[in-house]
């Protein structure tokens, strides 16, 4: 290595960015070259002093600035959180300043929605789907959890076995995290919960002898791998039904894009 090559690597050596081979060759050169050695010594001393000075010059006289932003920031994050939570319910937004007008519009919306649902459908929705949706919501929102919610993996499996259901511990990135028995729609059914870092999905298992797939979803067929699934989508929740031998399985989630057939497929009764 000659002087020019050694000096070209000066700052890479000082910044500890040079390769081991380069560093070794520079060291060897510096051992034989007084001039380069002096340049390196001086530059790294200047660099150390400069770094020290830059850091000292940069420490703000007080951290009040940061403290002030931290307070403001947390308030702003609260606001973003609230906005995000509100998003699925557009009626919560107030596009009009006039409250009377907003109420009027809300009232007419209810009339229109009511008309669209036409009595029977609305009642059916309440009677057939809402209990399942609510059971899933309770788990997702961590409220009113039945006492045996937090079972160990073995006990969840034992529970599944006791109702002769084969359960996968893992479905893709989702892990089976809880299971309990819950009375829904007048039937005692198993309620199992899978989650990954972001989403949750409930799988209900009801004996086919006591629970039928509601007629309301007969027309909403989703076929996958030759199996027929029936879906129900409403504003806040999605349900997917499948008949599997002695069981009717129902998957529920609030996520709009999750493919739920994979869950029901993995849960085929043994």
């Amino acid at each position: 290595m000659n002087c020019q090559e050694a000096l070209n690597l000066l700052y890479e050596i000082i910044d500890k960015e040079a390769s081991d081979i380069d560093a070794a060759q520079v060291r060897e050169h510096l051992g034989n070259c007084r001039h380069c050695f002096e340049v390196y010594r001086l530059e790294s001393a200047v660099n150390d002093l400069l770094t020290e000075k830059v850091k000292a010059a940069a420490s703000p006289r007080s951290l009040d600035g940061v403290e002030a932003i931290r307070g403001k920031l947390l308030a702003q994050l609260d606001q973003i959180d609230t906005e995000t939570r509100r998003e699925p319910a557009p009626t919560n937004r107030k596009p009009f300043g006039n409250i009377a007008m907003t109420l009027g519009i809300a009232a007419s919306l209810i009339v229109i929605l009511g008309a669209a649902f036409v009595g029977r459908d609305l009642i059916r929705h309440r009677e057939v789907f809402m209990p399942l949706e609510q059971a899933h919501w309770r788990v997702e929102n961590n409220v009113e959890i039945p006492s045996d919610h937090s079972l160990t993996a073995e006990r969840i499996r034992a529970l599944a076995d006791s109702i002769h259901l084969s359960l996968a511990q893992q479905v893709g990135e989702f892990t089976l995290v809880s299971g309990h028995v819950e009375e829904l729609l007048g039937v005692r059914m198993g309620h199992f919960v899978y989650e990954n870092e972001k989403q949750m999905i409930s799988v209900f298992a009801a004996p086919a002898a006591q629970f039928n797939i509601p007629d309301d979803v007969r027309d909403n067929v989703v076929s996958s791998d030759g199996v027929q699934y029936f879906s129900h989508n409403c504003r806040g929740c999605r349900l997917l039904f499948v008949r599997d031998g002695e069981w009717v399985l129902v998957a529920a989630t609030t996520d709009k894009n999750l493919d739920m057939t994979t869950f029901l497929r993995h849960h085929r009764v043994a």
Binding site: D15, E38, L50, A57, I69, L73, Q76, L77, D81, N142
Partner: protein, 195 residues
């Protein structure tokens, strides 16, 4: 029965755990970028809000500090750069590579002339010298000297080629050395040697 609350509180908790602690560093650098306390506060605030909105895009386990600095430098380059005054163009190529070495080596008999020199320079003068660097050089110098980012990290933060980072850092250093030396000469700490 509204939205899945656990998701948003979990997001909030991980953001407060991983991103918020970097605010001091962001502010320190923002001050050197914008040169104004008010602008620096606004810049950090905007950065953190944007980071929170895009928090699901951040890959857990990757370099959160570099990710935040990338967001901040992007906002700075797009929105603040025009506001901050940059001194009339600096002819960076005009600097002699070994200027400081030449001057210091000719300076005196004593062993550590650089220490004598730097002992007399105030932090405030260093701050001014950094602020007088043209934006392109200042960003690289601050990220390297102040925040200790590696060349590759700086390249990613500023969307530059590795070679560009190296040459800007090199030039930035030389400019900084030259300014501080001129300052020392002006104040009589050092005497200019005619070479």
């Amino acid at each position: 029965m509204t939205d899945p609350q656990p998701k948003s509180t979990e997001k909030r908790a991980s953001f407060e755990r991983e991103a918020v602690p970097h605010m001091d560093a962001l502010y320190r650098t923002a001050l050197r970028m914008t040169k104004q306390e008010n602008d620096a506060e606004d810049l950090v605030q905007e950065t953190m809000v944007k980071a929170y909105r895009f928090w699901d895009k951040f890959e857990p386990g990757s370099n959160c500090r570099a990710w935040l600095f990338k967001i901040m430098t992007n906002i700075f380059i797009n929105d603040y750069r025009s506001k901050s005054r940059t001194p009339a163009s600096v002819d960076v190529d005009d600097i002699d590579e070994n200027y400081l070495y030449g001057q210091l080596a000719a300076q005196s008999e004593d062993d550590n002339p650089e220490q004598r020199l730097f002992a007399k320079i105030f932090d405030e003068d260093v701050r001014k010298a950094i602020e007088e660097l043209p934006d392109d050089f200042r960003l690289v110098v601050v990220l390297s000297f102040l925040e200790g980012f590696a060349y590759q990290e700086i390249a990613e933060i500023l969307d530059l080629q590795l070679g560009t980072v190296k040459s800007r850092l090199h030039r930035g250093r030389k400019l900084l050395q030259k300014r501080l030396w001129d300052y020392a000469v002006r104040n009589g700490f050092a005497k200019e040697q005619s070479s």
